[in-house]
Symmetry: C2
Subunit: 191 residues, 2 copies
Amino acid sequence: MPRHREFDTDQALEAAIRTFQDKGYQGTSVSDLLDALGIQKGSLYKAWGSKRKLFLTALDRYFRQQQAGLKAALSESPKAALHQVFEYTVSRCVLDEGRGCLAVNSCVELAQLDEEIQRLSDEHVSVMVGAIAVAIQRGQRDGEFRTDVPAEVLADSLYTSIVGLLARGRSLIPQERLLAIGRLAVESLER
Amino acid sequence: MPRHREFDTDQALEAAIRTFQDKGYQGTSVSDLLDALGIQKGSLYKAWGSKRKLFLTALDRYFRQQQAGLKAALSESPKAALHQVFEYTVSRCVLDEGRGCLAVNSCVELAQLDEEIQRLSDEHVSVMVGAIAVAIQRGQRDGEFRTDVPAEVLADSLYTSIVGLLARGRSLIPQERLLAIGRLAVESLER
DNA sequence: TTGATTATTGACCGATCGGTTCCTAATCTA
DNA sequence: TAGATTAGGAACCGATCGGTCAATAATCAA
């Protein structure tokens, strides 16, 4: 019986992701969002209820995308897969020109201010580290990777390097440097 | 001929650092600062002129403290020194309970919004990475560290891990995990 | 002690913040 | 086509934002 929504929700969420990624949650005003999504205030509040709920929806979408992307990359052979993860991370740093990663940015900005975001962020990290750990375990079974350290610890360490890259990616660093860092991180798994 | 300032500037700046570290620049209101510094609005604006200038002053102070702390730690033998840097980083993560690092937090929050902060932040990173590189070079000369990769690249990689730890430290991670990550990072220099 | 100078205080400023409300427009069912 | 329902648009809301200012208090030199 209703009137249809005139804007595309997925498209709007992508715009919201980019905006929040750029300016942060607190740095993004509702009016910024209206410009970015190309809609009016009433529509935004009809659709999501508040700036915070829109953010949470966008963040959840981003988490899912990241998790899906990681798992896709990890379907290859472990070593190649992990190299690809870093290359992808670096290319995001460079291509997105300082936009960084919404997950990392949000965790740094908001984990201490918003318990729910901290919880969601922790969950996301668990999934990401878990997926990396599985790949490393495969690499360990294949004899490609060292076995003197548990896969979970290696995965945690690798993920920390990725977070470091993405955080440092907020100011622009030459691509070669970033790639060298990624290469070293994966190398440190070998033996 | 003048009336004296009633509050201690150094003490006030320390309070400002903690507040900005906790809540971020945008998340800290002037009224938050007044509470934290225990002064009135007029005094704040007399002393620093604006919230932004107070922030820049606090950030500069923090940078100097970090740089001095790092250089002090690096006066030991290279390997022990770098281990100590990580232990110090981890203990900060744990002791400060999610406060993280003002340098990292500010870079992630503001590098894309404020060119001057990006510039200052980049300078700080250069100093930090440079100091680590010098220590690694010493370790390389002593035969403690691998020489197949330039010290600057190793230092960059190590610093990225530190940044990753500090960023992840915004949500609380068990100390043991953090320590394991730090140990692995320094180990990867050896050979 | 007086006068010049600076710090502190608290009221005040316009602008913007996130959010609400109400009216109209569009779309479906019956 | 009538009526129910939802979306879009714009004016409007109180609260808070960062920042200013005039009056008062304190301190020094002369």
